[in-house]
């Protein structure tokens, strides 16, 4: 990951990026702390496969520490959908005056739509977002709530940008995630959840170079590893268990 190496130079010394596809093809994994990413957006099949891998890892005792359990990942999505103060694009009913800012569930720049603009402009903005590959299931429409704080959670450690009060522990725990980022917007003194993400790009946002935030994030992530290094551990994820997780028909 070239950008990560550039923005987080200290991280790539101590952290290895493992492609999901390798988790099934590798017969063994080195013991350590594994942060699962993108669990919020897993579809059912992907989640079942990830849970299968997670189970095999947990069967190996203390050899693996799992953060962002795929098993609990669906909890984060449901919780966020419950809290989001708007409607997701895939289910939106369009009335021009209710369109405000479009927020991606991942912490990216929001697309601001002027509420006084003509109806056609709003359609044009939405078309642009969709033509850019935006997923309607992951895009939310709110009534003009710009993000004013972002909180990065690394298990017990937190970093934040912006002035909103820190999230209470109970609120963080309700998402069922360990390593993720949350964006909030304040309106009339109330803070609203408007973005959440556990992808690599949410946890390691682009910095444009080595910054104090990048160094703090690096330190936080490296601090998560509590597992002693050792010889690789066999995983033995058999094809029958995989076929069952994918609900594939049996050949017999």
């Amino acid at each position: 990951m070239p950008r990560v190496s550039q923005d987080y130079p200290g991280l790539t010394d101590g952290v290895r990026f493992v492609e999901y596809s390798q988790l099934l093809s590798l017969a063994e994994l080195p013991p350590g702390t594994y942060i699962f990413t993108d669990t919020i957006t897993f579809d059912a099949r992907r989640r079942e496969l990830a849970v299968l891998v997670e189970k095999r890892m947990l069967e190996r005792g203390n050899a693996f520490r799992i953060l962002n359990s795929p098993f609990r990942g669906s909890q984060a999505r449901a919780r966020f959908e419950h809290l989001f103060p708007g409607q997701f694009l895939a289910r939106a009913k369009f009335k021009s005056r209710q369109l405000g800012e479009i927020k991606n569930r991942y912490l990216v720049e929001s697309v601001a739509v002027d509420l006084d603009s003509e109806v056609d402009d709003e359609a044009a903005h939405l078309a642009d977002v969709l033509l850019d590959g935006g997923n309607p299931d992951h895009l939310g429409l709110t009534a003009n709530l710009p993000i004013d704080s972002i909180e990065f959670i690394f298990a017990d450690r937190r970093l934040s940008i912006g002035g909103t009060d820190p999230l209470p522990k109970q609120a963080i725990d309700s998402f069922g995630l360990d390593v993720f980022a949350v964006g909030r917007a304040t309106q009339n003194g109330l803070a609203h959840f408007v973005a959440i993400g556990d992808s690599v790009f949410d946890i390691l946002p682009s910095q444009g170079g080595d910054t104090s935030l990048a160094r703090a994030i690096t330190e936080s992530i490296i601090g998560l590893d509590t597992v002693k290094s050792g010889a690789p551990i066999p995983l033995n994820v058999g094809w029958e268990a995989i076929a069952k997780a994918m609900r594939l028909k049996s050949p017999s």
Partner: protein
């Protein structure tokens, strides 16, 4: 231009528009492109549109159709509803909507298929994107695998090349380019021997612009895919051809608007009803 750039213009001048890259589009993108397409066509005979992202057959559906029609002699299985008892091995897996070629080596058993497909699902591909494709041997004279590439540009077939390879995957490192083989490929461009064979297949696919990649098993055509956003020429065209093929392509493109009447620009702005239809 991109679809976004066309929308940003607000209005489109009369002429021919070629809509490409349906394979890589999400469903909302296809629907938005479809809405733009309808705007252009509703403006009258001064506008012609090639490419129909909403109606063109995707790779999986096209290959299954060609097998059913008795054109292809190999079968394609969609992972989402695959019956392992129906598979003839060896097979390989690939993604329906990209052009990165096979995503596995040849697989000889159901456990191998399961693991290969699961690796793709775990990476983030959906079940309905994954194809399990039966292998068919197209090795021919001289031990080469020959992959033919021919364009359809509206009413014309224009041949691009024959790629000779020593391996079935046709990877770059196994492609062979000797002066004799380049001459054969250049001859193919001039002779255009497969027009009558290819046009009905393009019609069946509902594709009026794109490059068909195909081979022969014996004397029977085997279609691999139709790429509707194909590359015309690489960085080193002189490495792969000794002739200028540009004129053949230009002649075909020029025919597209030769008979178009004049007209006025048309408004291509979308409205919220189009967006709502796109995201449902």
């Amino acid at each position: 231009m991109t679809y976004s750039q066309l929308l940003d213009r607000g209005s489109a001048p009369p002429g021919v528009y070629i809509f490409t890259d349906r394979d890589r589009m999400t469903m909302p993108q296809r629907r938005i492109a479809g809405a733009i397409r309808r705007r252009l066509l509703s403006a009258g005979p001064a506008f012609r549109v090639l490419g129909d992202p909403e109606r063109q057959l995707g790779r999986g559906e096209l290959l299954a159709t060609l097998t059913k029609d008795g054109i292809n002699d190999y079968r394609v299985h969609m992972l989402a509803n695959i019956d392992p008892r129906q598979i003839r091995y060896p097979v390989f897996v690939r993604i329906e909507d990209d052009h990165m070629g096979p995503r596995s080596e040849l697989l000889d058993s159901w456990p191998e298929v399961v693991k290969a497909a699961a690796g793709l699902v775990l990476t983030g591909y959906r079940e309905d994107q994954i194809l399990v494709i039966e292998y068919i041997d197209t090795q021919g004279e001289g031990g080469f695998y020959r992959k033919y590439g021919s364009f359809r540009i509206g009413g014309k077939i224009v041949c691009q090349h024959i790629l000779h390879s020593t391996a079935w995957l046709g990877k770059r490192e196994s492609t062979v380019r000797t002066p004799d083989l380049i001459a054969i490929s250049d001859g193919f461009y001039h002779e255009n021997p497969h027009q009558e064979l290819l046009m009905p297949i393009f019609e069946r696919a509902r594709i009026d612009y794109g490059r068909m990649d195909y081979s022969f098993a014996g004397d029977r055509i085997q279609v691999w895919e139709i790429n509707d956003n194909p590359m015309f020429v690489g960085r080193n065209p002189h490495r792969v051809s000794k002739i200028n093929k540009g004129q053949g392509f230009m002649d075909a493109f020029n025919l597209l608007d030769a008979d178009l009447p004049g007209g006025e620009p048309v408004d291509v702005s979308l409205d919220l009803a189009d967006i709502e239809a796109a995201v449902r």
